[in-house]
Amino acid sequence: MKKNNKIRTVLLCVYIFCMAAHSHGQMQEGKIVFERKTNLFKKFTEKSTRDYIKEENKYKTDNFTLYFNDSVSVFIPEENYENNRLSWTTNSNTVVQDFRNNETKTIYSFSGAPVLVKDSLQKRQWKLTDKWRTICQIECMQAVYDLDDSTRIYAWFTAAITPNVGPESFWDLPGAILGLATEDGAVTYFAKSIEERKVDMEVVMPKFNDKKARTREEVIERAKKDFKFEKEIDSYLKSLFMW
């Protein structure tokens, strides 16, 4: 096991060195469009809910845009009007990450109601693997994050895009994350298009009321108190804040 970890570390260093050697070709700023696919039948297991959703609507697709430079990233959902009947089945969050000030601002969609969270950047313990995947014609390395005993998230990142950005609140890998997936495949994020361009952050930055914002812990604690009689509240909060 220790030997495998050493090999992975060496490979990563070689990979990063090679990328650094060609730093004049690496992207520092731009826009990535992500497509999220949610398997609603894995998310909702009650028969009555599945009957309402129907087999033909089993996979729900949402699109997001990530604007980034070397210090800030802004992750914004695109409005999805395709199947309004099922708009409640997924959440679309807006995430701003400020890497210089170690700060993140998120507008979570709590059953459609906006919840403002201001906190420090989420630190995750990633484990690198020796697996690779091509996303948008770019070779990406795989990393794994264990949220808890039952939840594992896979990420694919590339050092060809140097800022360590990613969808939702994910970051902190040696490069931009172009793919994310839960272990059971219920939710996946994959980059659809990558565009290198100057980004005017003031234009794309969403409006955020700092006075109404709370930390993640405060929001979770408050929600558990307000919804103490809702049996599903723990699993709902987990599915909302794991991103």
Binding site: T49, E56, E79, Y81, D226, E232
Partner: protein, 502 residues
Amino acid sequence: MNSNGNLTRNASNKNTSESDATNIKTKLGYTKNFKKDKRQLRVLNNFVYDQSNSESGLLYTDYFAQTGLTQNGIDQQKNGDKTILSNVFSVAYVEPLSKKLKLEFSYELFNSTNNRHSRSYNNQNGLYDDLDSLTSGDFKSIKFQNKLGVSLFYDFKKHMIGLGVFGRNVTIDNQNHFLNTTINQNETNILPRLTYQFRINQNSSLRVNSQTTSILPGIELLQPIQDNSNPNSIMTGNQNLRPNYAINTNVNYNTYNPLSGGYFYGGFYSEYGFNQFISTMNYDAIGRIENSYQNGNTLNYLGAYGGGAIPLIKQVFTLDPSFGYSYGNRYSFVNGDRNALTTHSLETGLDLELYTDVVEFGFGGNYTLGQNLNSISPELNLTNNIYGLSSDLRIYLPWKMEIATDFRYNNYNNLSEEFNINTFIWNASIEQNLGKNKNWTIAASAYDMLNQNTKISRTAFANRVTDSRTAIIARYFMFSLSYKFNSTYKKTANTETNEEEQ
């Protein structure tokens, strides 16, 4: 009574009747969803067969106090039968033109045959064999209606607009076999429809609907014979009565805050009618009425409503106000004079609701005010009100058992003397849920344990206001076993742990 309160005429009316009826309804439907998204075909057929026979007797006299004479005697035996056969066949086809645009074609064919035979025989020397031609008849009404429509729906971002138009042609043959006469009616209308929805966000929306409906007059309004079951108010049909149509509009807004559990809903509605069936009444010298119907245009009703929940403790304890106001308008003709009859009704309520995982409890009060205004008879301008209190309690016990109880108290005021009563309706039940998903429920229930259930109502007519008290099912007990095909109950870790400990 005359204006001095002295008796002028005393009418005695004794009716007996026996009847039997058969009703058959069938409904067949088919929906086909095609491979292409949103392309759909829907076919529906409704068939109704109604048949009834009746035998009745009428014994009527007028006693005139001034002269001491008894006159206008009627001693009749009647028999009649009525048969209605009607069928509605409809088909709708939806074709998506693009992601945002879809077209819907619809066609409806309605046909019905109404037969009504009525025979009234006067008592002649102890035998009921003298046919009364005024109150006897053989009437047949055959109706065909074709309705063809097309609607366009445009779904763009947060907005959905639907515009539709229907062309309707109805032909009616009213055959009077007694007099060997036939009156044909042929009417063509354009019936527009508008739908608009604004999906403000996931939890708020605004809806606007406007559509046109049409009712064909029933055989009782058409057949030109007299119904003298109440000789003080004789009804005669009008063969020339045309189908009516009405434009119905309603607007609704609702919003919900999932964080606090608060919500609000409100809206208003109205209906304007063309060719409505307007009552005409003519009084004779001794106060008896002859009724008939004719067509006329009128604003039928309008109203507004609203309500919501104000969270006092988020997701647990709410204050729920509600209100409703309606305005009703009818007019009639009394001895040739137009008589406007308007009603105002205001309902307000305030409830407290508590939701926990063990107990659900509600308590509230409501107030209803009703006012009737009559333009010709100001003595019929009457106002009444009802005060009410209600409460309900449900307790979730271990082992999937539930007990529940509720009551409703009403205090009626300003009705006729014997109708100003209080009622207290109290119900209770105990339920045992069984099965993995609580699909099965065994329940023992008691309804109206204090045996006070009754229905009090006030109805305003052009020439009178009637308070009525209807005996309805009171105090009964029920044992039930039910099965839910789609249970939303989901076991949680806590539930599983509890069951293991048991």
